[in-house]
Symmetry: C2
Subunit: 223 residues, 2 copies
DNA sequence: ACCTGAACACCGTTCAAGT
DNA sequence: ACCTGAACACCGTTCAAGT
């Protein structure tokens, strides 16, 4: 299967500008959130904004490129957890890593759940992310550390929500996500399990939801 | 204490226009989210957009007015839960009501955590909301239904995060929040309780976080 | 006092003109 | 091929002119 379209390497100056843009954008987003203007980013990178739009046809594409960087690092970090002895602790740490990552640079979460996910790289990483989470979860369940009626999609959504709960307090209590991770983990213990009134979302439904969100964003843009 | 500045009643046509604007805006936001243009709202309400800005000096003020409506209804509904026999079930239902409310009209959540909360009415309701949650939680804890190391702020943040977890899937699995409410509730049971690694945020910290968010929004607007 | 739409500042995006 | 900044369409907001 062809994973990358194998685009020819960029000219030296173009590659340099690309990096400058990514660095400037990452810094600007980290400071002020996603609503810094592209003009400001181009100015900080010391290139014309036409150059920015040549490399990243849309602001969302620029955001997506940064998300791919971060997201890739996250997945790589997660893979090192696969051969831990304590499978329960490994899953716990994985959820913590996800929450901390999202907690650190505000805006990333909004970007992933926003319209920036119309991107081949992000989609591939998303699948890899789910697969990894699935394996960590399975091991934790086999070790008896986690109830068996939750799925990788549950873990993914819960990790996101933990950091969402804490993100309102970020800046004042930066580590608050730890508290809600602990609380959610107590609910994931087999001893605590009570029947769930709603079935787990299927992978197919996750795909449908992502699709729906994309079409919604496109529709909104045309009005 | 003076709760309302007691503004003189509006002229008949002005009052009528105000209602039309609120209705049109609520409908438009429910359909397309918060990024419908004010021009579109004014058109749907059949008034000039100058009229809109006379009544609501800023788009955020318009959003805030709608949030006050919804939020007020929510708090009123919650108060009826105070004299339930089963205090544990009452808190459970309260968290469900909050999650369902936020889940139904998308955008409301974003608005509350957004810059629209620079509004006296919303601040007052927010305090009332926390006080109500506190009382429901206290009763549930005394009944032995909920662990004692969680606070009303925890419950508020967790309620929001539950619906955030499910909101990504909204449109495909509208009731998914029920699943994550169940999971979180399992974690709130006294039997499940393990020590929490981070202390609960104080009311003062909540205030600071709201303040910080407001200043951040103002700062972003001036750039 | 209230209503209105033209006018303004700003933002994301495009494109003709340059190397 | 790539770079650039003027130009465009659109959005939130203002305001002079009307009743």
């Amino acid at each position: 299967v062809a994973t990358q379209p194998d685009t020819p390497p960029l000219r030296a100056d173009a590659e340099r500008n690309r990096r400058r843009l990514l660095d400037a954008a990452a810094a600007a987003f980290a400071e002020h959130g996603l609503d810094v203007s592209v003009s400001e980013i181009a100015r900080r990178a010391e290139v014309g904004k036409g150059t920015l739009f040549r490399r990243f046809p849309t602001k969302d594409d620029l955001i997506a490129a940064i998300v791919v960087d971060r997201f890739g690092g996250l997945v790589a970090e997660g893979k090192t957890l696969l051969d831990r002895d304590d499978a329960g602790a490994a899953l716990r740490e994985w959820m913590g890593v996800c929450a901390r990552q999202q907690s650190e640079d505000r805006g990333l979460l909004a970007a992933v759940s926003g319209s920036a996910l119309d991107n081949a790289g992000i989609k591939a990483l998303h699948a890899e992310f789910l697969e990894l989470t699935h394996r960590l979860l399975e091991r934790a369940q086999e070790a008896g550390a986690v109830r068996r009626d939750v799925t990788a999609v549950d873990i993914m959504l819960l990790s996101g929500s933990i950091c969402e709960a804490a993100s309102n307090m970020h800046g004042v209590v930066p580590d608050l996500w730890r508290r809600y991770l602990d609380l959610v983990l107590d609910g994931l213990r087999p001893e605590a399990a009570h029947p769930l009134s709603h079935p787990a979302p299927t992978l197919e439904q996750v795909g449908q939801a992502m699709q729906a969100k994309l079409e919604g964003a496109r529709h909104g843009r045309q009005r």
